[in-house]
């Protein structure tokens, strides 16, 4: 194993170690922001599996995020279910709904799929307001933050952060395994050349709808966590811009890259705040300029640029040793 590979292996444990230290270094508000980063990272990984790896563009993942969030909120509010159980339920429900939505989506390609999912995202706030009996209408549902287990000496914010971090680690490991193996190769093959993939015996329709389901499940789990973290759900939080923000996140972070989800999550969480600090008058103009400049400098996203830089560095290092 070369030295470069050794360094590369150390990245994931080092990141987790830093992430574990954060709660003891940051204020509660900052920590809440990082909880949010973790939640976004899960949602972005979900969308990236679908859009980056499988090539199906979705502008509607805000809908699955909303579905996950409302599943958790309704289960806690109406049926007093313990919050821990609501997260897998939200994931499974989104898996089923995503799979079912993926079947008609098979007929649509590229732009038309993007716009069909966009329609889904648009309809969400209206539908949520319509079923007032369940969702509390425009008022939404107020929850209380989950209590940390006694004896650990953690504040609710710190506990929530660790719960999120745990889910992030589990889902990222599962995602990486899924994408590395036979299934992952099939998913990517469908993106690159659907006909050739079919010829090699990949069941295109099944894989595409399954990918849709898995992607929706990730986003749903993220939504469920966000309902716990914010302790409040309301229809207008799940507007179209949420879905667009997710898309911005995966493209800025890097398509078809697992670490890209984390970079993208950091971007969509912190850059709007910086823009606000730079210009109070027109913060979104600054954000827009950020977006455009980012795309000029790194057309393949942060992860793509890092990968490129890494290969160049490794090549330089390699020739240095042999020559």
């Amino acid at each position: 194993m070369s030295r470069a590979q050794g360094w590369r292996r150390a990245i994931a444990p080092a990141t987790i170690a830093i992430a574990c230290a954060l709660p003891f270094l940051l204020s509660n508000f900052r920590l809440f922001q990082f909880t949010q980063v973790g939640i976004y990272a899960i949602a972005l990984l979900g969308l990236n599996i679908l859009t980056g790896y499988n090539g199906q563009i979705s502008l509607g993942h805000g809908a699955f995020y909303a579905l996950g969030a409302y599943t958790t909120a309704i289960m806690i509010d109406k049926w007093n279910v313990a919050y821990g159980w609501t997260i897998p339920v939200a994931g499974l429900l989104c898996l089923a709904v995503g799979f079912l939505f993926g079947i008609p989506a098979l007929r649509l390609e590229g732009l038309y799929l993007a716009l069909a999912t966009f329609a889904l995202a648009l309809a969400v706030p209206q539908i949520l307001k319509y079923f007032e009996h369940w969702t509390g209408g425009s008022q939404g549902i107020v929850l209380s933050k989950p209590d940390p287990p006694r004896g650990l000496g953690l504040s609710p914010d710190q506990w929530l952060y660790f719960v999120t971090l745990g889910v992030v680690v589990v889902l990222f490991v599962l995602g990486a395994n899924l994408l590395r193996g036979r299934t992952g190769r099939a998913i990517v093959a469908i993106r690159d050349n659907p006909i050739a993939a079919q010829a090699m015996g990949v069941n295109g329709a099944l894989y595409k709808s399954l990918t849709f389901g898995v992607s929706a499940a990730y986003t749903g789990v993220a939504g469920a966590l966000s309902a716990l973290a914010i302790a409040f759900v309301a229809p207008d939080a799940f507007n179209v811009f949420l879905s667009i923000t997710f898309l911005v996140g995966i493209v800025i972070g890097g398509l078809a890259s697992i670490s890209g989800a984390i970079f993208g999550a950091l971007f969509i969480q912190f850059v709007p705040n910086w823009a606000q600090e730079i210009s109070k008058a027109a913060p979104w103009a600054i954000y827009g300029i950020f977006l455009i400049v980012f795309m000029y400098v790194m057309p393949r996203g942060i992860a793509g640029s890092l990968r490129l830089a890494w290969t160049r560095l490794a090549r330089v290092g390699g020739t240095g040793r042999t020559g």
Partner: protein
């Protein structure tokens, strides 16, 4: 029956507006294969320019055509300056750049002109007129007429002029077009210019109805997407017709289907589009793309 006709007429009027923005979207898509998310905000910004001119005492039609000229040049410049550097990047990168443009235009308009709604004059008489028992708003009819006029102009331009032919060629087969001596890069820029121009017309026709404010296009852009999807992204006529269909169906469903009312109007319009797409995946009038294996 009167209510029915009245609803159809007002549906056609709003539908014409959706159609005109959809037309601009289809223009850019045909010329460059990009769905321009900033289309609505570009139109909104042009309308503000027109408002500034009108406020300074310029007569309506002078301001109208001056705005069209500025929008055309602006669209051209945006393609040259902002889009060109990412021309060869993945499609999603271009989409993100367009989203960047969207938030910039929106934010700058709010900054320059504030978020307070402003009335915008209509060039058509105010008084509605009556045929039988049905009222027609003069502005509604005028706006629909202008949209159809723009459509006719585009049709003639693309069908019968050399430049139009060159633009179509550049979009369909850039490499061969370049070999024939067509400057493909400039054709793309022209496409953006024309789309900005069509958008500006739409903006100035919409503003008298919805009032002028930086967010006026966000709702309409969504319906425009729906219209273009319904009609097919490869067909300008289809986009306008799609707009009219969406407008009418939305109105009728809101009026006649009780449990839907006005709350779920948008949802129904969108569901309708999904159903159409499932039956005809490239829209009602779109060409299905054939892949070479």
């Amino acid at each position: 029956m009167e209510i029915f006709v009245q609803q159809v007429v007002s549906g056609l009027a709003t539908g014409g507006i959706y159609g005109s923005v959809a037309l601009a979207l289809v223009m850019i898509y045909q010329a460059t294969d990009v769905v321009n998310f900033a289309q609505g905000e570009m139109a909104m910004f042009s309308t503000y320019l027109a408002w500034s001119m009108l406020n300074a005492g310029v007569p309506y039609w002078a301001a109208f055509f001056a705005t069209l000229a500025v929008a055309f040049v602006g669209g051209l410049l945006i393609e040259r300056v902002v889009i060109r550097p990412v021309e060869n990047a993945p499609v999603l990168t271009v989409v993100i750049v367009c989203i960047g443009l969207l938030v910039i235009f929106n934010s700058v308009a709010g900054w320059l002109y504030s978020y307070i709604q402003k009335p915008f004059p209509s060039p058509f008489p105010e008084k509605p007129f009556k045929i039988g028992d049905v009222f027609f708003g003069a502005h509604d009819l005028g706006a629909l007429g202008v949209t159809l006029l723009v459509l006719l102009f585009l049709y003639v331009f693309f069908r019968y002029t050399t430049l139009g032919l060159a633009m179509r060629a550049a979009a369909q087969n850039p490499v061969s077009s370049r070999l024939c001596g067509i400057r493909v890069g400039w054709m793309l820029a022209l496409g953006w210019g024309f789309a900005a121009l069509v958008g500006a017309v739409a903006g100035m026709m919409i503003a008298p109805i919805v009032f002028l404010d930086p967010n006026m296009m966000s709702g309409i852009l969504i319906y425009a997407f729906a219209s273009a999807t319904l009609g097919g992204f490869t067909s300008p006529g289809g986009a306008v017709l799609g707009g009219l269909i969406v407008g009418v169906v939305e109105n009728l469903v809101g009026t006649y289907v009780r449990f839907i009312g006005t709350e779920l109007k948008l949802t129904v319009a969108l569901a309708m589009i999904l159903i159409v797409l499932l039956v005809r995946p490239s829209g009602l009038f779109g060409r299905a793309t054939v892949h070479r294996v």
